[in-house]
Symmetry: D2
Subunit: 358 residues, 4 copies
C-alpha cells in the first residue's frame, strides 16, 4: 500500500468504502493559510453521489471535520487531519462479493496481494476513497488560487463515444456544474444523459472521456528527469480508479505529425515568453512554460454491473455473478472534481519543492 502522495505537501489518505470513516492527513502544508470546513465541504459536495439520476443513489452526506492543524481559521503548519464519516453502509447489498470476484474489479488482485480483503464493497479500490483526495485537494487549490490565481477545471468530453463540441477557452465552472453529467456543451450533455440512461436500463455501464484544463498554472515547475510535471500528472490520473490513460497537449495525435507542425512558435511580448499555439499542453522538458495545461483521460465503464457475468470465485470455482447493489452507470461523470483535486496536489507539491538559488 502506498497511500501517501507528495514530497513536501504530503497527503496520507485512509479509509474503506464500508468502514467507519475515511480521511486524509496533510503534512507539510504551509502555515498562515485561511482554512475552514466550509471551504473543503464545497469541493466534497461536487463529488458527492446521489445528486441526480446519473450517479449512484447512495446518500452520503460526506461531512468533513478538521481535527487538527488549524487555529483561529488559519493553518498552523502542523498536520491537518480531515475526517469524513461513512454514513450509508448498506453492506448487505454486497453479499455476493464474498463469493465471486467481480470481472474488471480489484477483488482478485487484492486477495492475491494481501491474502484476504474486506468484501463489503471495494475497500480501498472503491471510488469512495477519492473523497479523501478531494478534501485534501481543496486545500491545495486554495493555495494555488491565492498564489497564482490558478484555475483548475475538468469536464466530461465524451460518454460512450458520443462527441461534444467544447472550446476549452470558454469553459467555466458554472457551465460545467450546470450539466448533470458535467459537460459544458448543453446539447452533448443531453446526449450523454441519454447514453447513461440507456446503459442503466440495460443493467450496464458506459465509459467516458474527461478533459483537464489548468489556467494560469505556476510557471517553471516540474522536476526533470523523473518527476516532470507531465509525468506526475500522468501518475496522479492513472492512480484514479477506472482511469486507463493520459495524454497532454496533442497527445496521441503528436505521434502522427511532423515537427514543423507540432512545434509551438515562441515569441516575446510584454515582458513574457509565450507560444502562438499550445500543442505541447503547457509543458516543455517536463517544466511548465506558463501556457494552459491541457490533458485528457479515458475512464473505463464501471466494472460492477447488474448483468449476469461469468467469473470465478474464491477457492477456485467458476460460475455466474449477478451483482446487486447500487452502482454508478458512468464513473466518469464523477471524475471531474477528483481530476481537478489530483492536479492541484501535483502542482502544489512541485511549487513547494521549487527553489531557485538567490
Amino acid at each position: 500500500m502506498s497511500s501517501i502522495y507528495g514530497k513536501i505537501f504530503k497527503v496520507s489518505t485512509w479509509g474503506e468504502s464500508h468502514g467507519k470513516a475515511i480521511g486524509a492527513v496533510i503534512d507539510g502544508c504551509p502555515s498562515g493559510i485561511p482554512l475552514t470546513e466550509e471551504m473543503i465541504q464545497k469541493s466534497l459536495d461536487r463529488r458527492r453521489p446521489g445528486q441526480n439520476l446519473m450517479v449512484t443513489p447512495r446518500k452520503e452526506a460526506d461531512k468533513v471535520s478538521i481535527l487538527s492543524g488549524v487555529f483561529e481559521g488559519k493553518t498552523t503548519g502542523t498536520p491537518i487531519s480531515l475526517m469524513i464519516p461513512n454514513e450509508d453502509q448498506r453492506s448487505h447489498d454486497y453479499s455476493d462479493m464474498i463469493k465471486w470476484y467481480r470481472p474488471g474489479h480489484a477483488d482478485l488482485t487484492y486477495d492475491g496481494k494481501y491474502g484476504f480483503r474486506d468484501y463489503h464493497g471495494g475497500g480501498r479500490s472503491s471510488a469512495r476513497e477519492t473523497a479523501a483526495r478531494v478534501a485534501a485537494g481543496a486545500i491545495a487549490r486554495q493555495i494555488l488560487e491565492h498564489l497564482f490565481q490558478t484555475e483548475i477545471l475538468a469536464w466530461v468530453t465524451s460518454v460512450g463515444g458520443e462527441p461534444s463540441d467544447i472550446d476549452p477557452e470558454t469553459v467555466t465552472y458554472e457551465s460545467i456544474e450546470a450539466s448533470p453529467v458535467r459537460c459544458p456543451d448543453p446539447k452533448a450533455s443531453l446526449r450523454f444523459e441519454e447514453k447513461i440512461k440507456e446503459a442503466k436500463a440495460d443493467s450496464d455501464s458506459v465509459g467516458a472521456l474527461v478533459t483537464l484544463l489548468v489556467r494560469r498554472p505556476p510557471k517553471f515547475v516540474g522536476e526533470p528527469v523523473f518527476e516532470k510535471v507531465d509525468a506526475l500528472l500522468a501518475q496522479a490520473m492513472l492512480s484514479l480508479p477506472a482511469c486507463k490513460g493520459f495524454e497532454i497537449g496533442l497527445g496521441f495525435e503528436a505521434a502522427k505529425m511532423r515537427g514543423s507542425k507540432h512545434n509551438d512558435e515562441i515569441y516575446f511580448e510584454n515582458g513574457v515568453y509565450r507560444t502562438r499555439t499550445n500543442n505541447a499542453g503547457g509543458t516543455l522538458g517536463g517544466i511548465t512554460n506558463g501556457e494552459d495545461i491541457l490533458c485528457r483521460m479515458p475512464f473505463k465503464p464501471t466494472s460492477t454491473i447488474g448483468q449476469e457475468q461469468k467469473t470465478a470465485g474464491r477457492g477456485g470455482v467458476n460460475g455466474i455473478l449477478k451483482a446487486k447493489g447500487r452502482h454508478d452507470p458512468c464513473v466518469g461523470v464523477r471524475a471531474p472534481v477528483i481530476v481537478e483535486s489530483m492536479a492541484a496536489l501535483v502542482l502544489i507539491d512541485l511549487v513547494l519543492r521549487q527553489r531557485r538559488f538567490l
Copy 2:
C-alpha cells in the same frame, strides 16, 4: 531536479549531452546477482545512435564501466556506479542554441527554472540522458528475467500515422531488431523508413507510436492507491523525452465502451486465475493480475529540425532559428529499448517493495 527513481531499487542518473560523461548509481540492488559490463553493454548497444540512416549519425561508442558494487562477477548489495564517457562532443554544431530558444524544446523552461543552462545541446533534457536509464534498466531486467522469466519488449507501431499490423502475441526480440525502425511488421517497417526519409529530406521530423509488452510480469505487484502499477508506468513513460501520452489495455478506447464488453471474464484453470480477454492490459485496481502488460505511448516528432522556425531568444528578442547539427528525424525509433528499461525499473522496485506477511 529529481533524477532519482525508485524507493528500494533506487537509480540516480547524472550527466549532460555534452559533458565529460553520463552515468547512473543504483542503490538498493539485491546482492548475489551475476553482473558484467557486457550484460549492460548489450542493452546500450540497442539504444546507440548511428546504427543506420534512420537515426542521428553521431558515433557514440557508449562504453559502460562498472565502478563499484560488483565483486567476482556478482552484485554485492552496495551501490553500483555505472559510467559512460561522452566521446563525440562536436559542440560547435550547436552554436545557434546560445542565442535562440528552440521551439518545442526545453531551452526556455530550463532558463526560466534554473536561471541559465549549458547551451551545448540539450543538457539534461537531451535524449542522451536516457543512456543512463538503459544501463540501469539492464540490471533490473536481468533480475526480473531471473526471478520470473519476465520478458519485456517494445516496438514501433506507427510512424507519422502510418499503420502496421502486429499481433503482440507473436512479437519477438529478433523480429523487432531485424527492423531498422524497430517495427516487427516487415511491410510496415519499409513504409516507416520511407516516412522518416521523407521527413529527413524535408529537414523535418516525424512522430511515432510505441507499444510496450511485458510477458510473465511479476504477479500482484503495484501499491495502491497512489503507486498503482499503471500509474507508475505512466509516470515512467511520460518522464521520457518527447513522450506525450500513455494508455494501458484498451486505453482511450475504453471510454467509448460498455462495461459488459470491457470487463474481462475471470476463470480458474490449472490452479491459476486467468482472464479470457485482456482488455485491462494486465492490471486490476493498480495491481498486476499476471496477464501480459500492454501499453502504448505516442512520441512527438523531434523538436530540433533543420527548417527555419520563428522563435524568441534570450534577452527578449524575436527572430528566426535554422538549427544546424545532426538530429534524429524520428526519436520514436530509438524509444523501444528505453521504454523497456523504464518498465523494468518500475517493476523491479515494486517487486522489492512487495511483502506479504508470513
Copy 3:
C-alpha cells in the same frame, strides 16, 4: 513539518495537545496481522499521565479507536487510521502562554518558523503528540514479537543524577511497571520518587536517564551507509521531546578505550555467530548482529516549571513568566513506553525493507 516516519511501514501522526483529537495513520502495514483496539490500548495505558503523583494529574482517558484497515480482527494491508480524542482540554491554565515564550520550550521557534502558533499548550511540540507514536508502535511491536519473539524494554536508570543498580539481563516488564517511576531497582525507585517530589515541592523539574534494551532483535537489519540501525535509533530518540542525546553499547565510554578492550570477541557455537561481550550494543557496521541492542538517552528536566523565570514575549518585550497549569515534574518517567515504541517503529521498517536476493 515532517510528521511521517518510515519508508515501508509509514506512520503519519497528527494532532495538537489542545485540539479535538490526536491520531496516526499507518500505511504499509502487512496484511493478516491480528489487531484489536485492546492491543493498542494496553500500550497507551502505560503512557497515560495521571497514574500517580509522579506525573501530571491531567486525566486523559486516551481511548483509541481503529477507523480503518482492520477487518475481522486482522489487518488488511490498507491504511490503519487510529484516533484518540482529547478529552481534558483545560486550556485556560495556559493563558500566560499567549504572551510569553517559555524558556526551554519550542514556543519561540514555532513562532519564528510558522509565523504564529496555537498557544493553548505546546501544540505539536507537546509530549501529548507521542501518544500517537505509542499507538502506532503497539502494532509494530506486535509484528516483531510475532516474527522474532523480539522483546523491547525501556526503563529509568537515573533521576537527577541519582544512580541505580540494574542488570539489563534480569529486567522484566513486571519489574519496570511495578515502579511508579519505571525503575526496576526498587531502592533506586524510592530515591527517584523522592527526587521528583522534591523538585515538585520546589515548583521545579528534574531530568532523567532512560535505558533501552531490545532482546532477540531482528538479525542483519540496518541499511548502511545513511540508515544504519544505530543512526535510525538515534534519530528516533532525538525526535522525542526533551531527549538530548543517544549512545549505543558503551557509547561515550568507547572514546576512552583501547581497541583491544573494546572489540567484542566473535565465536561460532551451535550454528550461530555470537560475541562474548556486547560492547557494541548489538550492531556492527550499522547492521544488527543478533546480540541485544542496548542504548541510553538523557531526558532534560521539563521546561515548563512553576517558578518565576525571566524571559521574553511576542512583540519584543522582556519580563517574567510564572507558569500555571499542571506539568510533569519529570518527563523522563513517561519516556520508557515511548522509547520502546520508537524502537519498534525503527526496527519494523528495517525488517520490511530487508530483502536478500534468492
Copy 4:
C-alpha cells in the same frame, strides 16, 4: 543499502575501499552557485590519510573530478557527479580478511546481510567511503557560508580519555589545523599524540571524542516531529563509521539537572531574540533558535588492530586473527572534517525544505 541522503539536496554516495573509484552524485543542488574542483579538493585534503604519523600511511591522492552539473564555473541545477579514483589499492595486505571476521568490524554482518562481500578491505563500511561525503559536503558548506555566513567547525576534544581545555567561542580553523590530531588546545594536542603513539606501539588503537560547533546556523530550520534538526544531526553522526553516540547542548548532563538551571533565559535585544546561556545547544523543539549548535560524538577505537585477537571465520571456524596492513590507530583524528561535512548536508537540506507561506 541506503546510500542516499537528503530530501531536496540529495547525495548519493558510491564506492568501496578497494574498487576503481568512489564518488557522489548530488541531485537537487540549486543552480547558479560558484563551484570548482579546487573548492572541493580543499575539504578532501583535510580528510586525506597519510598527512602525518598519526594516521594511516596510505598515500591516497584523493583527486576529485566534477563530471557533470557545472557549467562555466557555476552549478546548473542538474545532478553534480563527483569521482575520486582509488589510487592505492595494496589489497594483498588484507589477505587474512578472506578467512576471519575482524572483531568490532562489519565483516560478519555484511556476510550475514548480503550473503558475501568484497573481502579486500572494509568495502562500504570502510572509512574511505566518507571521502565521498566530504566532497558532497564541501558544496553544502559553500552554500551555507554564502547564504548565512555559517561556519562549521569540528575538533578532537579527547583521546583515550585524556582531557583538553578548549573554549568553543575561541576555536578557529587555524587552531584546529595547526594540530596533527586536530585539537585546538596545543598542550592537549601533544598529550593526544602521545596517546596515539603509545597505542600504535602496542599494535593497538584508541578512541576519541569529537566536538561539533556551528556558528551562525540557518535560523528556524528543522522539521518536527520526526526530522527535528537534532534528530537529523544524530542520525548523520551515527551514520559515520565508529561513531557510538551523540549529544547536543548539555546532553547527558541534562539528565542530572533541575529545569530552573537547565532552561536558557530568553531575552529580546537589537531586534533579535537570544538566550543568555546555551544549554540547549542551539535548538528548541527540534528547530534552530539561532544560537550556536554544539554537539559531541564519541568515536570508538579503530577495530582493526595488529594484536592477535580470538575470533571466528566463515564456515563456522573459531581461531586467531593477527591483522596485517596499515590502519589508523585513532580514527577519531580524521573525523572532524567528516563531521563538519555531515552537519552541512543536514543543514542545507533543511534550509531547502524550509518554506514559510507568503
